[in-house]
Symmetry: C2
Subunit: 339 residues, 2 copies
Amino acid sequence: MSDDEVSLEAGAGGLEMLKLLKESVFPSIDLGEISPKIGVREMDDGAVIDLEGSEKYLVFTTDSHLVKPRFFSGGDLGKLAVSGTINDLAVMGAEPAALSSAMVLEKGFPRDDLERISESMGELAESAGVPIVTGDTKVVGEGDVDGVMVNTSGVGICEELTPASGLNPGDKIIVSGNVGNHGMSIVADREGFDFDIESDVAPIHRLVGELKGVGGITAMKDPTRGGLAASLNEMASASGVDLEVEKGDIPIDSKVEGAGEMLGIDPLKIANEGKVVLGVESSCAQEALDALRDEERGKNSRIIGKCTEDGEGRVILNTEIGSSRILKTPRRKPIPRIC
Amino acid sequence: MSDDEVSLEAGAGGLEMLKLLKESVFPSIDLGEISPKIGVREMDDGAVIDLEGSEKYLVFTTDSHLVKPRFFSGGDLGKLAVSGTINDLAVMGAEPAALSSAMVLEKGFPRDDLERISESMGELAESAGVPIVTGDTKVVGEGDVDGVMVNTSGVGICEELTPASGLNPGDKIIVSGNVGNHGMSIVADREGFDFDIESDVAPIHRLVGELKGVGGITAMKDPTRGGLAASLNEMASASGVDLEVEKGDIPIDSKVEGAGEMLGIDPLKIANEGKVVLGVESSCAQEALDALRDEERGKNSRIIGKCTEDGEGRVILNTEIGSSRILKTPRRKPIPRIC
């Protein structure tokens, strides 16, 4: 493929995507630069807009979802679309307020599947307390879309931002549970393996809400495309610090670990859809960990590392056998599309 | 095609779409019902959310754009995506504040085209004063999307709502200029006819803003999918009134009229992308008309009819030869996709 065309590798949420955006998209569309607004160029999970005459911020985010298979162990396209956008709002520090749902359907798409996906979205939005308030539906010809595509955008309100760029030297890094389950589940379902791995797809705004009383939270991300590795690199790079992470402290299901070895996929580099990774001031780290562990969804939370110093945005991974290596952002599409 | 599958006719923004949504989508996902919030089921141009502790509302809207050709007389996909969402906010009575842009790209899509579309979005967002603050970009395999798809969502703030449902008996109906140009331009470009018709695609928030000082505005819509006919029917039906519209008073370019006759397409039933249709109290109608005509984009504004009485939501079209007929919402996809 020539450089004049968009490559599939650009779609994995890694460095190739960053290159595409920096070369072909950002020069034109980055316009939102009012402090402390966070705009497109920051590549955070959402944008932040001042609410005039208020000390609160409006957080605004968008995501397109096209996962295949549409129904997988632990979830489906609808659950993914609702959770993904709620989580993007939550990790910016916002209380999610409302969602939109824009569906593009291929002619001939089964009505049963449409209803299952809609039900899944509706039920999850209701149980999460974040209503779907507006939508758009389009139907296109055969071959113009692969079955169905769902874009969910969301708005939320927050008082205290937790952007990816907030890390300071000395901060501890926490992940809220076992990583790699979503990505590995999707690959297994698609490839016909029976690893008995369930996606972790779920809204995490209530889990994140538990941290509000703790204080000292400096940065948050949800480790979706590109997995934990991509999120850690984004946080380190945006904050201008180096991170030192202990491989042995990162919680991973043994089934995920085994499947990863068999398939040659690093669980640190594939998507999670119900986890949060955060930075917290050292003095608040234990309290933050306890708050997360109080929730069922956060019971496997672990401190996995720390910010060492002002740095070049590197993530250093100390392995269990005493060696160290740089944990990089996945450069290429590691596996078929998982969100 | 069986009833178990999504049909192409459901994509035209007419009655077939309404049926699909009512049967397969709304039963699950309509959850936003806090007065005076406007939610999914109202099918207005956007949702309305109370801003706690403020007399203002947050308006939130979403739209997916897949027009072919992507570059057409008078505009392109990027201009359409930015204008469409700004206009949905504007006709709800909101001041557009910010946009999101979620692109799905097919592997192999030309980088040149991506850059042209991004530039078009960026330039228009800048000149409109409505920044693109957040985005998402995904790349999918060949055949998983037809080239490129752009979802734009938007947020705006308003003090006074102008929902489709606000019409009262006696109100005058105004359209802000000649209708049918966008739809007819797209068809002409696609079919290779040279009718010399330009799309009217443009943001109308400043035109609509001119009405703020007038008062008496009871309802607004932007007549996109399904054209003026669909918008008039939506307003009549949502407001529980009948409308009486004079065919001879509806401004239409002679080129659009001629192309419509040749192709068998009713200019009242195809999309506009830079127009507004509104209801205004009779006593304010002339002033509203004058305000619109002061703007270049509104100079062909006309009063085209009135609300007759509480009714069944019918739109009665009086023709120039003295007869009357019911102007219905287009039932089927009248032409290939135009937005």
